[in-house]
Amino acid sequence: MISVDNLDKKSDSEIVGLVLADQENFSHIVKRYKTKIFAYIRRISNFSEEEAEDVLQNIFIKVYQNINDFDSDLKFSSWIYRIAHNEVIDNFRKNKARPQTSSFEIDDDRIMILADEFNIEKEIDRGKTKEVIGDAMNKLDIKFKDILVLKFFEEKDYNEISDIIKKPKGTVASRISKAKEELKKALNEERHKII
């Protein structure tokens, strides 16, 4: 196994090559993506923390099993997010009837960006903004929630989102536009509850 210092300087694609030589090096991929993917799972699903950890574990096992399928034309992050996206959607469909068990996780920086994007703070109290956005996001269909999370929370560009959800860029653009409309509607409903 190669030392952590050396690996930190290596690209994802280089680490993939090292994983094929020694499975212990897979730990560096896990370490690099664990937090990001976990947050992504929690944002687009309503899984509890424990369920999200199980899904996360499955995702990394699938990444390991399919590592020879990684195409270096893609960004490794897009590829791992794609696996995560598919795994969450599969699990979500299987457990569609579950009750809502988690709130939507948003850090403060993101709140500000979203508040600006959707003109929220003009009308409601800053302290309530996080709750309003979270509740509105949780009301959305998973495909709209997913694409908004990728765009505004994971900060992926159109090409990356296209590679993650395996849809053409035009579809990504129109779905983002539709998702924003849906979020605006949901935000309006939430505002009326508060005001």
Partner: protein, 371 residues
């Protein structure tokens, strides 16, 4: 959230405990090749389907339809190749599905893939049509496929509607210039008579035809117009010809036997044929020895028969003769029936040229014994 170290240990532990290994690269390459191969194959099949659509539409009796008691729209609706259009649509869908499942197929929008797919299918279809793939496909399916006329080529069904004045099938007997027997595609026999203003021309025994006219009764049809069969559906007619005249092997065998002329080519040829086809021994012996009695004892010419093969030949006036108490086939000179006394009286160069036989003065007539 679970801490990094513990989570990593759990993952690596699971990988080791369950012996999880990365799937080999060849597995993904094979999958990729399989997807592309299926797509390519589907594209070819779609192209072939389109070529048959062109073929069936091109030969859809556009020049005949005016004689049919049908308006243009219903003629089109009744004869369109729906099966092939659906087949084409199915394979266009398969190609679409396949391209979407290639590694980068998702990057292209549905209209782009669909347009490209249809364009390639059309180009392939025209190419296949030009090189005769469509006709070959139609012929093979006509000969082999069940429900061909009901589903695959509706034009055949359209021409099998005696109630509506359309009949097609094989001519199995020509009774006279105004009447013949036709067996339709359901193997039903029809007595076809010339209609009041009709003309019966261009019919041949065993050949397929189409008839426009009127159904008179359950097995009588009055013909106004006789048409040759359309180009599509040739295979279906061949299938019916085989049903009507089964056992082509036996037909070929008989053809070979007749062509080799064992009865007339001597014992060696006869033995060769009988060795090859032992079943024919009795039949050939009967033909040779009993029916024509060639080589057999006789008292006069009437005891001998002229084999059919000689009777139809036009290069000589063949006759079965009782010569020196044995039945013979002789080629007698027609020009000098008055007779001869000796060989020199005969124009023997004629025989030398025709049958390479020596001639002689036989019972007072010039001729040569050929059998």
């Amino acid at each position: 959230m679970i801490e990094d170290k513990k989570f990593i240990q759990e993952i690596l532990g699971k990988i080791k405990k369950e012996n999880i290994a990365p799937k080999p690269k060849w597995f993904f390459l094979l999958k990729n090749y399989a997807v592309w191969s299926l797509g390519f194959l589907s594209l070819i099949i779609g192209g072939a389907a389109f070529s048959v659509v062109i073929y069936l539409v091109r030969y859809n009796d556009w020049d005949v339809y005016e004689q049919l008691d049908e308006n243009f729209v219903s003629f089109i609706l009744l004869t369109m190749p729906y099966f092939w259009i659906l087949f084409l649509a199915l394979f266009i869908y398969i190609v679409l599905y396949d391209i979407k499942h290639t590694k980068k197929g998702y990057r292209y929008s549905l209209p782009v893939i669909l347009t490209g797919n249809i364009a390639v299918s059309m180009v392939l279809g025209v190419l296949f049509y030009k090189i005769g793939v469509s006709q070959a496909l139609d012929d093979i399916l006509g000969e082999k496929a069940p429900l061909y006329s009901q589903i695959i080529n509706r034009q055949m069904d359209y021409w099998s509607q005696p109630e509506d004045g359309r009949l097609s099938g094989l001519v199995v007997d020509i009774v006279s210039g105004e009447k013949f027997i036709l067996v339709d595609l359901s193997q039903k026999e029809w007595n076809v008579n010339k209609g009041a203003d009709g003309v019966i021309v261009g019919i041949k025994l065993g050949a397929p035809i189409r008839v426009l006219g009127k159904k008179i009764s359950e097995d009588i049809f009055e013909a106004d117009v006789i048409l040759p069969p359309g180009k599509p559906g040739g295979g279906l007619f061949r299938r019916h010809q085989k049903m009507r005249f089964p056992d082509p092997d036996r037909q070929n065998m008989m053809k070979e036997v007749i062509m080799s002329r064992p009865i007339f080519e001597g014992e060696e040829k006869m033995a060769e044929i009988i060795k090859k086809y032992p079943d024919l021994q009795e039949q050939l012996s009967k033909v040779r020895n009993e029916e024509f009695n060639i080589g057999g004892d006789c008292n006069e010419d009437i005891d001998c028969g002229l084999p059919f093969d000689y009777a139809v030949r036009s290069n000589c006036l063949f006759e079965a003769k009782c010569f020196e108490d044995k039945c013979r086939v002789a080629c007698l000179e027609a020009q000098n029936p008055a007779g001869c006394d000796k060989k020199e009286d005969c124009a023997c160069e004629f025989y030398a040229m025709e049958d390479k036989k020596d001639c002689d003065c036989l019972d007072g007539r010039c001729g040569a014994i050929v059998e």
